[in-house]
C-alpha cells in the first residue's frame, strides 16, 4: 500500500475513532446514571430528551459554560497541564486497539486499527502507566492538603495494581505467543466441539480474567477502589480544586481509561471480534465489529453494576489486597500457565 493511501486511511481512522470514543464516553456516563439509578430504585435522568438521552449534551454545554476558576495559590503551569496529561494518555491508547477484521475498501486491505505494532500490548501498558502523572501532578499542584493526599493515594494505588494487571496478561501472552493484539485475537478463533468458543477465558485463564478485572477497577479508580476520589472521603480527592472544563477532562480521562481497559479485556480474554459470522459480504465485515462492541458493552455494564452494588475499600485494605493477595495470585497463575504450556508442547 502506498504511503499516501496509508496516511489517508490513518487520518480517517483517527478522526472516526476519536469521535466514537468521545461519544462513547459521554453515553457511558448516561448509562451509568441510569443503571445506578435503577439499582437504587429510582429513575435516573429522564427529563432531557427521551429516556434522558440528551443529558450528556446538556452536561457538556454546562461544563463549557461554567466559570473556570483557578484558585490563587496553585502552582499554575502544572495545574493547567495535569488534566491535559491525563486526557492525552487516556485517548492515545485507542490507537492500538483493533476493532475487527481487515476490511476491503476499493481494493485496499485496511486493518481496523490505527497502528498494528508487534509489541502492541507492551505499549498499551506503557501508556496506562504514564497516565498516573496526570493524577499525581493534579493533586500536588492544587496546593491543598486534601488534594495532595488524594493524589498521593491515587497514584500509589495505580502503580501498585499495574503490576498485577501486567502479570495477569502474561498468561494470555504465553497462550498466544505474540504481543501483537491482532495475533492474540486470531489465536482465539474457532471453538471446541462447535459449542464452546476458543476464548482465553475457556482456555484456562479464568483466574487471570478475575485478576485483570480487579486490577482494572483499581487502575481506573472505580468502586470498590475509588477511595482517592470519593466525595465522602477527602472532599473530592485530587480534583477538588478543578472546575468546569478541567474537571470534565479528568472525568473524560477516567471514562476513556474504562473504555480502553474494557477493549483490552475483550481482546485478550473474551475473543475480541470472534463470533458467529453469516450473511452477505457487507454483513460479514460488520458482524465482527458488532460482536466486539457487544462484548465491550457487557464489560462496561459489569463495571457499572459493580459500582452500584459494592462498598468501597479502606485505603490500607486496598493496598494490602493488591500487594499481599493479587500479586502472589497472578505470579501463581503465570507459573501454572507456563508449566501447562511447557508440558503440552
Amino acid at each position: 500500500m502506498s504511503f499516501w493511501i496509508y496516511t489517508l486511511a490513518a487520518v480517517i481512522k483517527i478522526a472516526l475513532m476519536l469521535f466514537v470514543l468521545l461519544t462513547a464516553v459521554a453515553y457511558i456516563v448516561w448509562l451509568e446514571r441510569k443503571v445506578v439509578g435503577r439499582i437504587q430504585n429510582r429513575w435516573g435522568p429522564t427529563r432531557v430528551g427521551p429516556f434522558g438521552l440528551l443529558q450528556p449534551a446538556a452536561d457538556g454545554i454546562k461544563f463549557i459554560l461554567k466559570e473556570d476558576l483557578t484558585p490563587p495559590h496553585v502552582y499554575k503551569p502544572i495545574f493547567i497541564a495535569a488534566p491535559i496529561i491525563a486526557v492525552v494518555f487516556a485517548l492515545t491508547s485507542i490507537a492500538l486497539i483493533p476493532f475487527g477484521n481487515n476490511v476491503r475498501i476499493l481494493g485496499y486491505d485496511i486493518p481496523l486499527q490505527i497502528t498494528d505494532v508487534n509489541t502492541g500490548l507492551l505499549i498499551v501498558l506503557g501508556i496506562t502507566s504514564m497516565g498516573v502523572y496526570g493524577i499525581a501532578l493534579a493533586g500536588w499542584s492544587s496546593n491543598n492538603k486534601y488534594s495532595m493526599l488524594g493524589g498521593l493515594r491515587a497514584s500509589a494505588q495505580m502503580i501498585s495494581y499495574e503490576i498485577s494487571l501486567g502479570l495477569s496478561l502474561i498468561g494470555v501472552l504465553i497462550l498466544a505467543g505474540s504481543f501483537s493484539l491482532q495475533d492474540i485475537v486470531k489465536s482465539q478463533g474457532g471453538s471446541y466441539w462447535h459449542v464452546i468458543p476458543h476464548w482465553n477465558i475457556f482456555r484456562g485463564q479464568i483466574v487471570a480474567f478475575f485478576i485483570y478485572l480487579t486490577s482494572a477497577y483499581a487502575e481506573t479508580n472505580r468502586i470498590p477502589f475509588d477511595m482517592p476520589e470519593a466525595e465522602t472521603e477527602l472532599v473530592a480527592g485530587y480534583h477538588t480544586e478543578y472546575s468546569a472544563m478541567k474537571f470534565a477532562m479528568f472525568f473524560m480521562a477516567e471514562y476513556a481509561n474504562m473504555v480502553t481497559v474494557a477493549c483490552l479485556a475483550t481482546l485478550l480474554f473474551l475473543g475480541g471480534w470472534n463470533g458467529p459470522i453469516f450473511g452477505p459480504p457487507l454483513l460479514q465485515t460488520l458482524l465482527p465489529v458488532l460482536w466486539f462492541f457487544l462484548k465491550v458493552f457487557a464489560f462496561i455494564f459489569l463495571y457499572i453494576w459493580v459500582r452500584g452494588t459494592m462498598p468501597r475499600f479502606r485505603y490500607d485494605q486496598l493496598m494490602a489486597f493488591g500487594w499481599k493477595f493479587l500479586l502472589p495470585l497472578s505470579l501463581a497463575n503465570l507459573i501454572i500457565t507456563a508449566f501447562v504450556v511447557a508440558v503440552r508442547a
Binding site: L122, I123, G126, A136
Partner: protein, 170 residues
C-alpha cells in the same frame, strides 16, 4: 526521513536535558527528565530496539520517575537556593565548554562513516527473552536478588521513626 525523525527527537532530548539544568524547582526538572526519557524511547525505536523502548516507557518513565515525583511531592521540595556563583567562571566556562563540545562532535562525526539503518537489528521480545533466560540467566537471577535487597533496604530506611520504636522496619 530517518534523519528528520532522529533530529526532531534528538532536539527534544537536548531541550529536556538543558531544561533540567536551567529550572530551579525540582518538579520542573523531573518533568523535563520524563520528556527526555520519552524521546529517548522514540530514538530506541529508530534503532530497532522495540522491547527496550517499551520497557523504557513502562519502567523508567512510568515507575522510577513516578517515585521521584512522589518524593518531591512528599517532602514538599521548594525552589532551590542558589549557592555562591562566580561571574568569571560563567564567562570563561560556557564558551570554552561549547568550543570543546563542538570540536569533539565535529571530530567524531567526520571521521566515522558507519551508518545505522532503521530497524536493522530487530530487538523483538522473543529473541531477547531467549537470550535473557539462556545466556544471561545468572545476571538475571542476581539482579532479581538485588531488587529484593533494595526493596527491603528502602522499607527499613523510610520507616517512620515514631511508629517503630524498635528502629526496625516491619
Amino acid at each position: 526521513m530517518h534523519l528528520a525523525l532522529f533530529l526532531a527527537f534528538g532536539a527534544v532530548c537536548v531541550a529536556g536535558a538543558v531544561n533540567l539544568l536551567l529550572q530551579s524547582h525540582p518538579i520542573q526538572s523531573a518533568l523535563s527528565l520524563i520528556v527526555v526519557m520519552a524521546s529517548l524511547a522514540v530514538e530506541y525505536l529508530l534503532l530497532g530496539a522495540e522491547f527496550v523502548a517499551a520497557v523504557q516507557v513502562i519502567v523508567y518513565a512510568g515507575a522510577i520517575m513516578v517515585l521521584f515525583v512522589f518524593v518531591i511531592m512528599l517532602l514538599n521540595a521548594g525552589e532551590e537556593e542558589r549557592s555562591q556563583g562566580s561571574h568569571l567562571a560563567l564567562l570563561l566556562g560556557v564558551p570554552s565548554l561549547l568550543l570543546v563540545g563542538v570540536l569533539l562532535a565535529w571530530t567524531v562525526t567526520h571521521h566515522a562513516t558507519h551508518s545505522v539503518a532503521v530497524g536493522s537489528l530487530p530487538g523483538d521480545p522473543t529473541t531477547i527473552g531467549h537470550l535473557l533466560f539462556s545466556e544471561y540467566l545468572l545476571p538475571f537471577e542476581i539482579t532479581s536478588l538485588l531488587i529484593l535487597i533494595a526493596i527491603m533496604g528502602a522499607v527499613v530506611l523510610a520507616a517512620n521513626p515514631e511508629t517503630d520504636p524498635s528502629g526496625k522496619g516491619n
